[in-house]
Amino acid sequence: MSGKEYRTITDVKGPLVFLNKTEPVAFGEIVTIRLSDGSIKNGQVLDTSDDLVIVQVFEGTAKINRESGVTFMGDVFKLPVSTELVGRILDGAGRPRDGGPAIVAEENADIIGAAINPYSRQSPHDFIQTGISAIDCCTTLVRGQKLPIFSASGLPHNDIALQIARQAKLKGSDEEFIVVFCAMGITAEEYNFFRSDLERTGALENAVLFVNLADDPAVERIITPRLALTAAEYLAFEKDYHVLVIYTDMTNYCDALRQIGAAREEVPGRRGYPGYMYTDLAMLYERAGIVKGKKGSITQFPILTMPGDDITHPIPDLSGYITEGQIVISRELHQQGIYPPINVLPSLSRLMGSCIGEKTTREDHKSVSDQMYAAYAQGRELRGLVAIVGEDALNERDKQLLDFSGIFEDKFLRQTRDEDRSIDETLDLCWNLMSSIDTKYLVRLDQKWIEKYHPDNKE
């Protein structure tokens, strides 16, 4: 029911257009703006009243003037969804980018998404094997979890995300994930890297891509992840797929949010980001999970780059307050030439407890993971001490732990980009590496597992 065209723009500021005297316009309504050269821009109503309407324009306000015609489309933003989405590449506003036909909608889904009733959720508990030892052993991923990668510029977070996308599977099952990939302001080069990798492995056929690149409109990034999640929800909760959503880079998303806040002259929160950024991010991250009575699931892997490698920056900080743990990539390890440079110490999977153990991974998993973590943490700490007092001042136990921290990085963390280790391989590897430490110092290992798994006790 697209209606009348208005030429009542009064002000244009940053990504916002202000106009007055319209028919009643709905909050959140979709808007098109026709410029004098006939080109069209899209936007959405942010504030509406009898006198004044504020529209946020996705493509930027360049060339908009008081003569531009504004039409209200009568509805809020919806994405046409159907299983035809699978295998398609769309732009940041949901239009085909692959030269293919428009999506024929099975239904039109509101992209804001309704909150999942907490009463209707099911606790995630299925172990996802990523084939990456650091993750599988120490920050185990669970189907339905939201587990971001906290990285920084110049680090190989994309490789890790892709490796996870390629290798992720439920133990003892070849059920595949559908990957929903959402690019927000990344470079064309990064995008090509993702796309060609997905193409090479054939994963593209089982993926949906929403792509907003660095030179695409910044404000459009506000809707791109919402489109991706709407597609994910449809595939998971209407079509029973297990969906893995990878979105990158959340930092660009947050910057777009900041830009709109500034244009509205809102009182900013920390470092200029809007005070409602926590809520806004939660409206994305919380669209992960499993719900009663539905077969599918949504697992989320948001990637964000920490400005200045600072984990207390509002973007990682607010994310960490919402997600169920984080995987932290370390510049130091990267510089030592270790891939994947995952620092397990600040990394955490909060749902790990629910998915490891005898029935899912292996009976010794918890014990092994605790011991690996503790020994590595102590070893790392000793490196600091050694720098001051010298290695000679260490006692036998400390020497072993110090050596172990190097072994941990070199043999446990390090693996190749296509090395897919099963959880058994990972845990066996842990036992092998830990055997460089006297068992009497391995206080976190249960005696019964030492008897069963320690290399000294095998044959």
Binding site: P24, V25, A26, F27, G28, L46, T48, S49, D50, D75, V76, I112, A114, A115, I116, N117, P118, Y119, S120, R121, S123, P124, F237, E266, V267, P268, G269, R270, G275, Y276, Y278, T279, A282, M283, E286, G289, V291, K294, T312, H313, P314, D317, L318, G320, Y321, I322, E324, G325, Q326, L345, P346, R350, L351, G353, Y373, A374, A377, I388, V389, A393
Partner: protein, 579 residues
């Protein structure tokens, strides 16, 4: 003007209406879908409304209807075991009506209005009733008797009262002036419920967490703040308190946090047994879940909904504990609404009234003499989520000014997997003076002295650690090395407690005392053995000490610990001959 107006403006959760007769905090119905909202500001003709549901698609010109009621909760049998959203709609009912996603425009009764409860009158015809007086009992769950009270503000002589099976809206008692009393009453959430007087707290809320009960105890009727960065253990601590603390009733508010965490509680609580009563935990629990992605205005209301329910049970003479996870999200909801109102902001964009709202909320905690003359309490434990973990921000500071207990969670400890990651050096409780008598009378005469010794050792350790950082521990004299060992034992054996371990998660207060004493006896016997020439290494490594420490993971530890200490003492004494 009438009670019907029209929408003038919509900006996110804030809607402005004109042409309507309205008073502050009136509940209104917004738009054709009748979304629930509350008047929060008046400007001449215009009423500013915060709406508890998503406003997308709503247009200026749609109707607004004033119900002329204030935002209230329904109170009566049926509250327990429920899980509500921020405005007391049962999530189970919402699921029945809307499916797994929360859509909008749906009303739901707070509890079953048809269900019959067995009401047993405790007053009779001709009795003179005062406000708040208990008129009858309902056995609501296996463990909780729901006391039906005269609503505050009503009183009079009983004309008739009957025991029997009634639903919550049927009249059970009539007064001489014709007033009819039902089992359900309503109370506006933003007004504290009345009581006769507040008392100074003198009984601890025993939590079963050693670091809390022993070093930083909280009083029944007190207030505590738990600030900490993400992943430091606020939620695990709050959930432990909900599980194991010796409150008779628990109100748990998930305020702007994760959906899955509420699911976890829902999955777990029905199967967990309250260590204090031996009955399922769910029987004493009311939950409020307004997760981070649910509407912010309802998040703002959720803490008031929760504390009003807590006060109602307090008025029956119960000890109620309320957990709010996280009060920072509540404060952020206030900030968000306030910025939509274009109010002049205070610090970091929060409204200027932030600290007074925080203070008013915590002031609703307390131990009181109820209108019925009983002793009841509400204990409030609020999690705080400071940005970047830095507690110099307004919500942490506003909280610390009012609470008497500060349990400071520490990212460094969490990273070392020292749980609970409560920093023993900067946390505090201002209650020990008022609680010491209780500890002396109920646990042990020397309880406060033992506590002082334990915390003294931790202090000394932190001073010694500074030296160790520079020269290594081997450079210290052996008596100081022993002190370090003792302090390590305090940390690893006593302060650390695995919130997920089936035995260790809850530690009886008597056992806590025994464990503390065990550490001090280790120190004693080690000292005297070393004075007679024993080596520190031998003393520390006696097997019986390891057994003593491991024992805490076994059931029946409380019966075995005395023997284990005896064994340890003997074995340590034996290290002298070995020399």
């Amino acid at each position: 003007m009438s009670n019907e107006g029209v929408i003038y403006r919509i900006s996110g959760p804030v809607v402005t209406a004109t042409g309507m007769n309205a008073a502050m905090y009136d509940v209104v119905r917004v738009g054709h879908e009748g979304l629930m909202g509350e008047v929060i500001e008046l400007h001449g003709e215009k009423a500013v409304i915060q709406v508890y549901e998503d406003t997308s698609g709503i247009r200026p010109g749609e109707p607004v209807l004033n119900t002329e009621e204030t935002l209230s909760v329904s109170l009566g049998p049926g509250l327990l075991t429920q899980i509500y959203d921020g405005i007391q709609r049962p999530l189970a009912t919402l699921e029945e009506v809307m499916g797994v996603f929360i859509t909008r425009g749906v009303d739901a009764d707070a509890f079953d209005l048809e269900k019959k409860w067995t009401f047993e009158a405790v007053v009779g015809k001709g009795d003179e009733l005062a406000s708040g007086q208990v008129i009858g009992h309902v056995q609501e769950t296996e463990t909780i008797v729901h006391k039906i009270m005269v609503p505050p503000g009503k009183s009079g002589k009983v004309k008739s009262i009957k025991s029997g099976d009634f639903n919550v809206t049927q009249t059970v008692c009539t007064l001489d002036d014709g007033t009819e009393l039902q089992m359900m009453q309503k109370w506006p959430v933003r007004s504290p419920r009345p009581y006769r007087q507040k008392y100074a707290p003198d009984t601890p809320l025993v939590t079963g967490m050693r670091i809390l009960d022993f070093l930083f105890p909280l009083a029944k009727g007190g207030a505590a703040g738990i600030p900490g960065p993400f992943g430091s253990g606020k939620t695990v601590t709050q959930q432990s308190l909900a599980k194991y603390s010796d409150a008779q009733l628990v109100v748990y508010i998930g305020c702007g946090e994760r959906g899955n965490e509420m699911t976890e509680v829902l999955d777990e609580f029905p199967h967990l047994i309250d260590p204090n009563t031996g009955k399922p935990l769910m029987n004493r629990t009311v939950m409020i879940a307004n997760t981070s992605n649910m509407p912010v205005a309802a998040r703002e209301a959720s803490v008031y909904t929760g504390i009003t329910i807590a006060e109602y049970f307090r008025d029956m003479g119960y000890d109620v504990a309320l957990m709010a996870d996280s009060t920072s999200r509540w404060a952020e909801a206030m900030r968000e609404i306030s910025s939509r109102l274009e109010e002049m902001p205070g610090e970091e964009g929060y409204p200027a009234y932030l600290s007074s709202r925080i203070a008013e909320f915590y002031e609703r905690a307390g131990r009181v003499e109820t209108l019925n003359g009983d002793d009841g309490s509400v204990t409030v434990i609020g999690a705080v989520s400071p940005p970047g973990g830095d507690i110099s921000e307004p919500v942490s500071q506003g909280t610390l000014r009012i609470v008497k207990v500060f349990w400071g969670l520490d990212a460094g400890l969490a990273r070392q997997r020292h749980f609970p990651a409560i920093n023993w050096l900067n946390s505090y409780s201002l209650y020990p003076q008022s609680l010491d008598q209780w500890f002396r009378d109920n646990i042990a005469q020397d309880f406060p002295e033992i506590r002082t010794q334990v915390s003294g050792l931790l202090q000394i350790e932190s001073e010694l650690q500074e030296i160790v950082q520079l020269v290594g521990s081997d450079a210290l004299p052996v008596d100081q090395q022993l002190t370090l060992e003792v302090a390590r034992m305090i940390r690893e054996f006593f302060l650390q407690q695995n919130g997920f371990h089936e035995v260790d998660a809850y530690c009886d207060i008597n056992l806590q005392y025994k464990m503390a004493k065990a550490i001090l006896s280790f120190q004693e016997s080690a000292k005297s053995a070393m004075a007679s020439g024993a080596q520190l290494n031998d003393v520390v490594n006696v097997q019986s000490r390891t057994d003593l420490m491991r024992g805490r993971f076994e059931k029946g530890y409380v019966d075995d610990i005395d023997d284990m200490v005896k064994k340890m003492t003997a074995e340590i004494a034996g290290t002298v001959e070995g020399n």
